[in-house]
Amino acid sequence: MPDVRVLVVDDEADIRATVSAMLEIEGYDVDEAANGADALHAIELRAPDLILLDMRMPVLDGWGFASELRRRGNRTPIVVMTAARDAARWAGEIAAAAFVAKPFGMDDLITAVERARPAL
């Protein structure tokens, strides 16, 4: 398992903690951010290889974060992670590498992350 660094962006603390634990047990190196603005800040500190992104968040939502990220020329692959039915559409809107719909288990999460990794 290569040392892959993942940034988990979600406003729900329990989701962040759970997703982080799920990734960590599979050997990923995880950072967390509570919204798009925090995530942009976190990227400055430590560049991730992959971003797991919730779409609806206060302060700066997934769309705002993604467009700002691309505007800065950052090509880090994004995996959309949402409870909405529109997961696939939203993923398309921000040109995400993959999406995973809540509720997801370990396998779903890892599959989505693995699918996004070839883009690394």
């Binding site: 729900e12 634990a21 799920m22 919730d54 779409m55 609806r56 409870a83 909405a84 509720p103 370990m106």
Partner: protein
């Protein structure tokens, strides 16, 4: 020929013409009332013809001739009291006394008209004034109690009767007092002419007069019926239509029976405004419906003895009914009833048909409106259900992700190392989100129950200030800052306490969720006239003016709330509103002056408790122990 003679001739011709007209009506449909009009105008016509014949034979100056004419003229008042009975009913003794007096005066006339004409003249004068006057007054009273064209015709009849009596009295007095005979002769002719014109208008109005008289009533009917299609309540619309039909027809009431497309029943409104069903051949209306032709029953209890009690209860002695149909579809039946047959009822069958047609138009329009409304309702219900399922599924997914993820983590760790230590934080997360799931499910069930109005159960007098204080105390106990500006006195209202606490908790939850992080929410409790008011104030983004009503709708979430957090089914405020409304109160959103949202709800105070507030103490001591809720447990776990 002098002018007076011309007037006399015209009057006499008109009386004969009127006799022919009422005779024609009576031959076509011989009812008692019609025969009585024949008796009235027949006797007058006979006197007219007889006097002309006597004049031609040059024997009209003979003393007995006057007596003979009087004999026939005296039939008039008798016919009138019979007509009074036909129109509005009289006591039986009046009829008997009238008949007896008539026989007496007829016999007296037969015996004395040749020998003592003055005797019979004076007796006839008394007879005319007493009986004729009584009849004229009775007609006038009957006119006052009737409506529409019936009233106009009754007024004409009463006027005719009054003028006729006056004319006869003038003639008598002229004959008895020769010194004023000249003047009275002119007056007699003029009043007689006016009388016959009035009688004509009353008993045989020309079609154009009838239409002119009908016009204002029809116009009113159409004006009233226009707004009936828009009335939301079917029963209200039908009741209004029934009243309008009865008013227009000048009847005491009307009933509209609505056919059921599937079953052989007619639906009527009962006196309490509720639907009742009868077999579709019940009542005279039912017979008209099944036969699909109009029916007239002058004696409804006799014609339909099975329902005699119903006719008696509604004083429906005369019933006329016409089927209501459109394009061959049998929609129902229109029944009009009255205590007594409006004497002119047969003349107005065209009006019945017209009203039946108009009823069909209205029923049709209402059916279309209802269909469209039902369709809209179904679409709206489907849309709401869709939104609800989507919102519910979304809200359930987030905690479910945590529960599932944490469970799989534990499973995976234990698979790799059966002796692995358990992560307490993960377990807490799982438990917390499982409870969150439970709360969401009960919120859904609450919303469902609210739809059926089953939420507010046990109401008991309680001090709202104490309830709010108890909620605050719990929050503070769990380390959550919360300000309370309490009432000076106890505010006692009859409430379902757990439900009111639920409202406060819901509002507080919103205040924490959408409020400012640095400024804790506050509560305020005060009395405003006859109600208690409770406000929850936050300093967050506030509610946009456009959303202040809609946020209380089911599943609605303000766009700015959606941008703050994805979670929330849009049920919390809806549940609050329903609970508050079931308590007879209101709930609304305002802007916090310094920024943010203020949610206020009002609960009516107990009428006598409000007066006692100065004496009563706040029952802080008997606060119930707090049942564990999601809020307290979540705080404890955090």
């Amino acid at each position: 020929m002098t002018a007076l003679e011309l007037i006399s001739l015209v009057t006499q011709v008109l009386f004969i013409g009127l006799f022919v007209a009422v005779l024609w009506h009576a031959v076509r449909q011989p009812t008692r009332a019609r025969l009585d009009t024949v008796l009235l105008f027949g006797s007058i016509a006979l006197v007219v013809v007889l006097s002309r014949v006597l004049q031609l034979l040059s024997i009209s100056d003979a003393e007995w001739a006057g007596g003979l004419l009087l004999l026939f003229l005296n039939v008039g008042p008798y016919a009138m009291i019979r007509l009074v009975d036909d129109f509005s009913g009289t006591a039986r003794w009046v009829q008997i006394a009238g008949a007896a007096a008539f026989v007496l005066i007829a016999v007296l006339g037969l015996i004395s008209f040749r020998t003592a004409p003055v005797v019979i003249e004076v007796a006839s004068l008394v007879w005319f004034i007493a009986v004729g006057g009584y009849a004229a007054i009775a007609f006038a009273r009957s006119a006052r109690s009737s409506r529409g064209i019936t009233r106009r015709r009754m007024v004409a009849v009463a006027t005719g009767a009054g003028l006729f009596i006056v004319a006869i009295v003038f003639a008598f007095v002229g004959a008895l007092v020769p010194s004023v005979a000249g003047v009275l002769g002119v007056l007699t002719q003029l009043t007689a002419l006016a009388a016959v014109i009035a009688f004509f208008l009353g008993f045989a109005p020309p079609t154009w007069v009838r239409h002119a008289w009908r016009e204002p009533d029809l116009r009113r009917f159409l004006e009233r019926s226009i707004h009936l299609t828009g009335l939301a309540d079917d029963r209200q619309a039908i009741a209004e239509l029934q009243r309008a039909v009865a008013d227009t027809f000048g009847a005491s009431g009307s009933a509209i029976g609505i056919a059921d497309p599937q079953r052989p029943v007619l639906r009527y409104l009962d006196r309490d405004g509720e639907w009742v069903e009868y077999p579709n051949d019940a009542f005279i209306g039912g017979r008209a419906f099944t036969a699909q032709r109009r029916l007239v029953a002058m004696d409804a209890p006799g014609a339909d003895p099975d329902h005699a009690d119903v006719y008696a209860r509604t004083s429906a002695n005369t019933v006329i009914a016409a089927p209501v149909s459109a394009e061959g579809r049998r929609m129902g039946v229109l029944t009009i009833y009255a205590d007594r047959a409006p004497i002119f009822v047969e003349d107005d069958m065209w009006l019945l048909e017209l009203l039946a047609d108009q009823t069909a138009v209205l029923l049709e329009a209402r059916a279309l409106t209802t269909q469209a409304g039902e369709l809209r309702g179904r679409e709206e219900a489907a849309r709401l259900k869709e939104e609800f399922l989507s919102a519910a599924a979304h809200d359930l997914r987030t905690p479910l992700t945590v529960v599932l993820g944490q469970a799989e983590l534990i499973e995976r760790r234990l698979l790799r190392d059966p002796a692995a230590s358990i992560d307490p934080a993960g377990i807490s997360r799982m438990a917390r989100e499982a409870r969150h799931l439970r709360d969401l499910v009960s919120e859904l069930l609450d919303a469902q129950r609210l739809e059926q109005g089953l939420t507010v159960m046990d109401r008991a007098p309680a001090d709202l200030g104490a309830i709010v204080e108890a909620v605050r105390a719990r929050h503070v106990e769990h380390g959550v800052p919360l300000l309370l500006e309490g009432p000076e006195e106890a505010l006692v209202a009859s409430v379902d306490r757990p439900r009111i606490e639920q409202v406060i908790e819901n509002l507080l939850e919103n205040a924490y969720k959408y409020g400012a992080d640095d400024k804790p929410p506050a509560m305020r409790v005060w009395q405003d006239e006859r109600e208690a008011r409770i406000a929850v104030v936050d300093h967050g983004a506030g509610v946009p003016l456009a959303d202040r009503e809609r946020i209380f709708e089911r599943f609605y979430r303000a766009p700015n709330a959606q941008s703050i957090t994805d979670t929330g089914m849009g049920l919390g405020l809806y549940i609050c509103r329903r609970i508050v409304e079931e308590h007879g109160g209101r709930i609304w959103a305002e802007a916090t002056p310094s920024g943010g949202a203020t949610f206020v709800f009002s609960i009516p105070l107990e009428p006598d408790a409000a007066a006692e507030t100065h004496e009563s103490k706040r029952p802080m001591a008997d606060l119930p122990s707090w049942p564990p809720t999601a809020v307290t447990e979540a705080t404890a776990d955090a």
